[in-house]
């Protein structure tokens, strides 16, 4: 046993919604084993990780319990002892590779800093070690990577650099806080493999924080399930994944969408709600008086139909152009080519008043429930703004807003409150109510459930499904998560480099993927062993 956490209690400042971030938590980390700490947002899993590094926020204090490592109780460590321990005994990898590296320092320098912080090696040796580490974590072109700045690397490459940094001093324990959450599914698969390989090679103890049971199934030896700061279940990976005892663990596991799409009747005989033909969009950046242009093709000859009552999924990795297509369909950006027909109107050919008039027919639900609602306006205003702009009597609009709020599962009293008073899931419901306020025929959902916890995600997906059936909506559903797509979409279009490479019914796509890229995406989805084991 490398680390023993015993009855750890972390107190939150008074006045919060609970007194303890972590309440009487015990677990052990063993050399050569990966412990996954699973829970939803607010479960206290990140706090556990930060406690192990002595990086708790000032307001959070260890009230009781102990963290034993190499014969010391970390809870009572002095600041100087922490400096010596951090990075050397226990190292950490963070969630956001985009922001976790200093943008002004070269990758090599940032890795070399690990040795410098602990007064090890000469500057030259540090550089050589940095290069060796970069090789070990499999960054392409190591000589260049050492000299690169973070912005010159992709998200996955930066996460590799972070891991190289964490491994520099050969720590006994690696704490990884959601290290793959911000990555594309294929990159995630690679990083998971890297962490597993390195952990075996170096016989490290790993504490892996995640909210994703698919990831747990891929990587865990043991699992701890946290709810509201308490351990509700703990055991070997198989015990927890296949024979979960606690209702919360079971509920979490049940909420994980699987790759098996439910049976759905074909809707292809219905009339078309949206007809997209040959959409093209190229972003041009730079290009001034003397500068050369940089071109990115976000949409290449994209064509699809959405039938009435149908949900068409648009899946792909970041940069594949799926969000650009959503914005083109909404005509939030101007296409270079192609047309978007809603009924008998071509959205790309009209402008001014006529376009504004038509906009009510197609509405959008955005990804980030925190950024997509104006924080200075009450929910009631947020929902009624659209209808009032389209000439609906304010009193009638408010009455309708109340109905919509109860339709999406919120109390009508929410009208008088501000967005910050709601949770992420509730805000997403408000976002949906706002979109529905204009009685649209088509809903465009751009990663609408990606920022939500899995149990909330399941609820919002159910809500969308229910609303679609009740209101006869058609939906363009954009997601990077194939499991989500499998659950909600009738047909799925796979995008790569701005083009649709495969478009077929969900059942067919998962049963018989044709395109190489589709297959690659499918095989990278974590947790497939889980569903096959469970079956």
């Amino acid at each position: 046993m490398t680390v023993a956490v015993k009855n750890l209690k972390l107190a939150l400042p008074p006045g919060g919604d609970r007194t303890h971030a972590v309440d009487d938590v015990s677990f052990e980390l063993s050399a050569g084993k990966i412990l996954c700490v699973v829970g939803e947002s607010g479960s206290g899993k990140s706090m556990c990780a930060h406690a192990l590094m002595g990086l708790l926020p000032d307001a959070v204090t260890a009230e009781s319990g102990e963290i034993l490592f190499e014969g010391k109780n970390l809870v009572s460590l002095s600041p100087a002892e922490w400096l010596a321990l951090r990075g050397r005994g226990i190292a950490m990898v963070f969630q956001e590779p985009m922001t976790a590296l200093n943008p002004l320092m070269r990758i090599g320098e940032q890795i070399a800093e690990m040795f410098e912080a602990h007064g090890l090696l000469t500057p030259k040796e540090r550089q050589q070690k940095a290069l060796a580490l970069i090789r070990e974590v499999g960054l392409p072109d190591p000589e260049r990577a050492v000299r690169a700045y973070p912005h010159q690397l992709s998200g996955g490459q930066r996460q590799r650099a972070m891991i190289a940094m964490a491994l520099a001093l050969e720590p006994a324990v690696l704490v990884a806080d959601e290290p793959t959450t911000a990555l594309d599914v294929t990159t995630q698969a690679q990083i998971l493999k890297l962490i597993r390989d390195l952990q075996r090679r170096r016989n490290m103890a790993v504490m892996f924080i995640t909210h994703d049971f698919g990831v747990v199934a891929e990587i865990a030896d043991r699992v701890v399930v946290l709810q509201h700061g308490k351990v509700v279940e703990q055991g070997t990976a198989d015990d927890v994944l296949l024979r979960a005892q606690h209702p919360y663990s079971r509920a979490l596991l049940a909420a994980v969408p699987t790759l098996q799409p439910p049976q759905r009747a074909s809707l292809l005989d219905r009339s078309k709600a949206v007809e997209v033909v040959g959409l093209g969009k190229t972003y041009v950046s730079g290009g001034g008086w003397f500068r050369s242009e940089r071109r990115v093709q976000a949409a290449k000859d994209v064509s699809f139909d959405i039938f009435r009552g149908e949900t068409l999924g648009l899946v792909g990795e970041s940069g594949s152009g799926k969000s650009s297509v959503a914005r083109l369909v909404m005509r939030l950006i101007e296409p270079d080519a192609g047309s978007v027909r809603i009924g008998d109107v071509d959205l790309t050919r009209i402008g001014g008043r006529a376009l504004r008039e038509q906009r009510r027919r197609i509405q959008m639900v955005f990804q980030d429930p925190f950024a997509s609602l104006n924080p200075r306006r009450k929910v009631g205003n947020i929902i009624t703004d659209g209808p009032i702009a389209h000439g609906v009597d304010p009193a009638a609009a408010r009455k309708r807003a109340g109905e919509l709020l109860s339709l999406v599962g919120l109390n009508a009293s929410a009208m008088e409150r501000f967005p910050h008073e709601f949770s992420g899931g509730q805000r997403q419901r408000i976002g949906i109510a706002r979109a529905l306020a204009l009685d649209p025929e088509i809903l465009v959902a751009d990663e609408a459930v990606s920022a939500l916890d899995v149990s909330v995600q399941a609820q919002v997906l159910d809500l969308l499904e229910d609303l679609k059936a009740r209101l006869g909506l058609s939906m363009l559903f954009i997601t990077h998560d194939l499991r989500v797509a499998a659950q909600i979409c009738d047909r799925i279009a796979v995008m790569q480099h701005g083009a649709i490479v495969e478009l077929k019914s969900a059942a067919l796509l998962f049963a018989a993927p044709e395109h190489a890229y589709t297959r690659e995406l499918l095989s990278a989805v974590p947790g497939q062993t889980l569903s096959s084991k469970a079956a």
Partner: protein, 323 residues
């Protein structure tokens, strides 16, 4: 890199010419006629004399012709002739430019060095008495008019305590040479440079403080802590460097305007620089001199903007030269 600088200079020249044209018309729209002012000073108010003066200065020609001749002169780096002072404008300006550059350069260096230092200290000890003291002092210097600070400084340090000279560039008639001369100029420099410096120091201190507190919340600072780096190293290497980016932008914008913006301070301290030259030219309706000062000030602003861009690109690797 070279092509970037070349294109920026080309753009700057075009902007400068546009400014010259604009200034040319602005001056002529202002009330007052230099010939009338000069004739009045000479004690002769008759129309013939005024007409002769006008002809001599070329003021009798149609406006477009005057503009054409002026722009033509500028393009060959000829800023014209000051009829009031009977000297080429460029000579007048070149005589005064070093004094202004010395004053504003010193003020700029003081304000940047101490502004960043105090800002960093305030951020480091945010919420303590040191932070409160620095923040309040910065607010006071930021809010107080420059000329008032100048007058109070003279009252305190020159009149009451008699530590420092109150006006001028050097002690007139003392004939110091070598080190004595340097020290004499330095003594004259302290009050005006500090007066200007205090105001800008307050700006930079406030900005550095806010920016550092913001950077302190970023993820990579947590990464640095997770490495086991000491707080001092984290603040200096990771936080301060990132926090200085907006300060560099602001300082660059202000550096250019400082050259022409020292009018008040130069006037109060009788500092023989461009600011006072401009003030005198304005009172005397010395068109060519005034325009010349404007051209030089505009060129300074453009030059400092270019320098800022270059500095910025060297401190922030995310900005690349598009070539």
């Amino acid at each position: 890199m070279i092509s970037f600088i070349a294109q920026r200079i080309a753009k700057a020249v075009i902007v400068l010419l546009a400014l010259v044209v604009l200034n040319f018309f602005l001056i002529r729209m202002a009330p007052g006629d230099p010939a009338v002012v000069m004739a009045g000073e000479a004690g002769a108010g008759d129309q013939l004399f005024i007409a002769q003066l006008r002809e001599k200065f070329g003021l009798d020609r149609p406006l477009p012709v005057q503009l054409f001749l002026y722009v033509k002169g500028i393009l060959s780096l000829d800023l014209g002739f000051s009829f009031r002072q009977q000297m080429p404008v460029s000579k007048l300006i070149l005589d005064r430019l070093p004094a202004t550059l010395l004053l504003t350069g010193t003020a700029f260096a003081i304000s940047l060095a101490f502004g960043i230092l105090f800002g960093a200290l305030a951020a480091r000890f945010a919420g303590t008495w040191a932070d409160t003291a620095i923040t309040i002092a910065a607010l006071i210097f930021y809010a107080t008019p420059l000329f008032w600070v100048a007058l109070m400084a003279i009252l305190l340090f020159s009149v009451t305590m008699d530590w420092l000279p109150s006006f001028g560039y050097e002690t007139v008639g003392a004939g110091y040479t070598g080190l004595a001369h340097v020290l004499d100029v330095a003594a004259h420099l302290i009050l005006p440079a500090t007066t200007i410096g205090l105001f800008f120091m307050a700006t930079y201190a406030r900005m550095t403080r806010a920016s550092m507190l913001e950077v302190n919340r970023l993820d990579f600072v947590k990464t640095a802590r997770a490495k086991g780096l000491s707080d001092a190293v984290i603040q200096r290497r990771h936080v301060l460097r990132n926090a200085l980016l907006p300060v560099v932008t602001l300082a660059g914008l202000q550096a250019g305007t400082l050259v022409g913006g020292a009018v008040l301070t130069e006037t109060v301290f009788a500092w023989p620089g461009i600011g006072r030259l401009m003030y005198e030219a304005l009172l005397q309706r010395d068109y060519n001199l005034l325009l010349g000062v404007f051209v030089v000030c505009s060129a300074m602003v453009l030059a400092f903007n270019l320098i800022t861009d270059l500095v910025y690109r060297s401190v922030d690797p995310r900005i690349e030269f598009a070539s």
